[in-house]
Amino acid sequence: MSERRTHASGEIVLETSGLTKIFGGLIAVNSIDLKVHKGEILSLIGPNGAGKTTVFNTVTGIYRPEFGEVFFKNEKITGKKPHQIISCGIARTFQNIRLFPDMTCRENVMAGQHCRSSAGLFSSIFKTPFQRREEDMIREVAEKRLRQVRLWKVRDELAKNIAYGSQRMLEIARALASDPVLLVLDEPSSGLNPRETWDLMVFLQGLIREEDITILLIEHDMNVVMGISDWVVVMDGGRKIAEGVPEDIYADQRVIEAYLGKEEEDYGDYGATAEH
Amino acid sequence: MKKYVLLVSVLFLALGLGSVHAANDTVVIGLQGPITGAWAYEGQMAKQSCEIAADLINKKGGILGGKKIVLKVEDDAGEPKSGALAAQKLVAQKDVVAVVSTYGSSVCEPASNVYEKFKKVNIGYGVTAVRLTQRDFKYFFRTCGRDDSQGKFFADFVPKKFNAKRIAIMHDNTAFGKGLAEDTRAALEPMIKNKQAEIVYYDAITPGERDFRVSLTKLREAKPEVWYFTGYYAEAALLVSQARDIGITCPFVGGNAAINDEFVKIAGLNVAKGCYMTNEPLPGDLPYPEAKEFLDAYKARFGEIPSSPWPIYAADALNIIAYAVDKSGSTDSTVLAEYLRDKVDGAPGITGPIGFTKQGDREGVPFYLYVVDDQGDIVVSR
């Protein structure tokens, strides 16, 4: 078994302990323990319905867990609202891209800075110097992130009018605009063509290299998972069934049974989601 | 671009259409009323009545030595804001000497403010709220009575007639109905103190509703000996039919808006007969030659006589304006207002001699108790 490559500091960014989420009678997430180390890319994989997205939603505050806790930088964040989570430093994207379709790309990215700014009703109406400075800052950040994902030239297009692949990148740019410590990506490569997927992998690796950032992602594309992950966690039926470095996971019999066997079917589904 | 210029100019042309300038040999009298909206039937009858009244005067040679009366109608849709706008529109036309305005006290209020400011005589025909004439306005008059005169009539006359001590009062939460109910209660106050009467039920129904069985059940449990409803005929007819359905048998007395031919039609003869109402003399009972002439002309043109009392007051408002213009020889509103207030006394009208108090109220509006007879006709109860 290979060693987990970790950041020099060995700091743990996100930790869940015994995380459990129940819908009606269904235990969607069953006592999951996760440790995300600083500076790594951790992939969460598993067949459809394994509970991956539910873990994300519970971590990012959309759901409240029935049992268990979530710690972010050693601070308990269990049960916080989504808008509080992002200001702590966890930014996310969605499985089915959720942009603000009738707003421009730039406005979409500016959303990320919302939690980093504070101008209120009156300073906005009277355009106080403070508010102007803050707006400038928001714009600068948005510009930086748009250039980073190479969407600056379409900044004034409506988000709904740009290509699907660009929409994926725009959503990532929006998340990045909040200056996150941890970036949580839900199937960022789904619906992308091989070329775009390749670009995405390069982009994510560059991000890790150049910024003080950690990435947690759900991914189906094994090429992506094997290509960029530092650590892989496998889920099935709400439980964690295995974890390890990509090479080990690739060879793990349980994983092959639970997950890889269903790969074909999964790709069929993506064909349908990629349409819109 | 051209299209928009065209469109805009057409619209403004349409706006201008209203202000047709009258020739010198006419006297223009305005009429403001609810031509559309929920009270449209009242407004349209008022319009018809005023047309007839103007025609009658014109046929007799007009006023001021041969000038013809021209009617200028503005719709206020029975809504306060439209009322103020309609008034504004009428005062903007300098040739309008005075205005017959309007139906509904809460519409009349803002409209009469406008008339007062622009010094234009305005005479209400379906506005009975007491407060309207307590504002020390110089230009506001009304040809109809006030809520409290009817309430007083009820107190003086009705309990004695039915030998009733337990009285139920029901109103419909409209400005008019509630006003009348409150004034009636106030008028009954002395009798209540002397233990000659007792109000066993006092509540409101909601107009526009169709089911009053709940209120009626409550009323039934209160065991009244006479039941006074101060709202309109539409609800009155439903009330009486439903009351009989659930076994209320005490005499029903309606206010002056409660009973008319429509009431009989909706309630059905079986239910309607024996229902009473307090009312100003109905058009057909008006003993005056003017009334007969007017009603004949109205019937000849529209096939029936007005089904509510208010249109007749509208016609009388027009009549008294014409009378004042003719006698004073002036079309100046200030002169007219002074003339109406001080000089008019016993001028001939469809609803009897017309005179005004210092506040602008009609002097001496008589009330009768009416009853629906076995043929479904509404006759004076003896």
């Binding site: 959309i62 989504p82 808008h83 992002i86 930014a91 969605f94 959720r98 942009l99 603000f100 379709p101 009738d102 707003m103 421009t104 500016m110 959303a111 990320g112 919302h114 939690c115 101008a119 209120g120 009703l121 906005s124 109406i125 355009k127 803050e134 707006e135 928001i138 510009e143 004034d156 909040s178 | 671009m1 619209l11 259409l17 209203g18 559309t36 449209a40 109608v73 503005e74 029975g78 809504e79 306060p80 804001k81 439209s82 103020a84 706008l85 504004q88 005062v91 903007a92 006290s105 809460s106 519409v107 209020e109 803002p110 403010n113 622009f118 709220a129 939460n173 400005a175 509630k178 409101a204």
Partner: protein, 333 residues
Amino acid sequence: MEQASFPGIAKIFSSPPLRITLITALFLIYPFLVSDYFIDIAFYFGIYALLGLSLNIVLGEVGLFDLGHAGFYAIGAYTTAILNTKFGVPILVLLPLSALAAALFAYVVFSPVIHLQGDYLLIVTLGMGEIVRLALINNPFGLTGGPNGVFGIDFPSLGAFLVVDSSLEYYFLIWLIVGLTILGLTRLQDSRIGRAWNYIREDETAANASGIDSRSYKLLAFVLGAALAGVAGNVYASKLMCVSPESFTFWESCLIFCIVLIGGMGSIPGVLIGAAFISLFPEIFRPFAMYRMLIFGSAMILMMMFRPGGVWPRKRGAVQYESLLGDTGRADV
């Protein structure tokens, strides 16, 4: 209304300072050219514009359906009417107080229901509007005068040197308020608050995940919208000198709703056009008497057929960054 003509008009108004000057000049000159009747029509146009702008915050910016907006309008009007006639509080003092009363009401009523989705929130607003109207009719504590309403309301004045009591002065009062409101709202549109509202309208979940506390921002929209409607109520009450429940029906709420949709959701010029349509149309078609509402109804359908996004939809993109006053032209590099 053909598409091609709009760029034509847009070109004339393309320079923001020129556009503002032109429109302001038009509004300043207009009342001196026409009779009081036309000034009054323009006054009610202003009232509807203010109501439209206030609803536009809730409906246009945040996308929340509010079919009870006349309720806030009523609360503003009745606060003014009651405090003025019973306690003699001056109208101008009541202007902020009416706004405050309506805002407070909105806050209290909507706090527990703000989480409701779409049409369920709509029915709550509708019910709220009806509750207000019915309460006014039922005359609680003898305050609202029942169906008669409250009468004898003063006109706005500041001592002896500023007295608003003629049609002309009311015209300037309302359009001054509308002008200031437009200025304020334009700036809000271009701020993090305005954007946050739009994010919620576009996708509430994504907005939450992007750090927007949608609950507070939705409440803020209702409170601000209610406050502006309260201001409209204040001016309306003092202009008419009396208020009665007939003016605040469900139908009135529907009209305000239509103003925003006819003009174009979230678009300030659109709201002005919608308000013009709603207030001028019935007046223009006065000569048609009982047929005018028939025409009005058909016109509404036709309008939605040919311009479903509204007559003047909000333009996004580069255009948006020059605010109406053109003072933030730093946008594009």
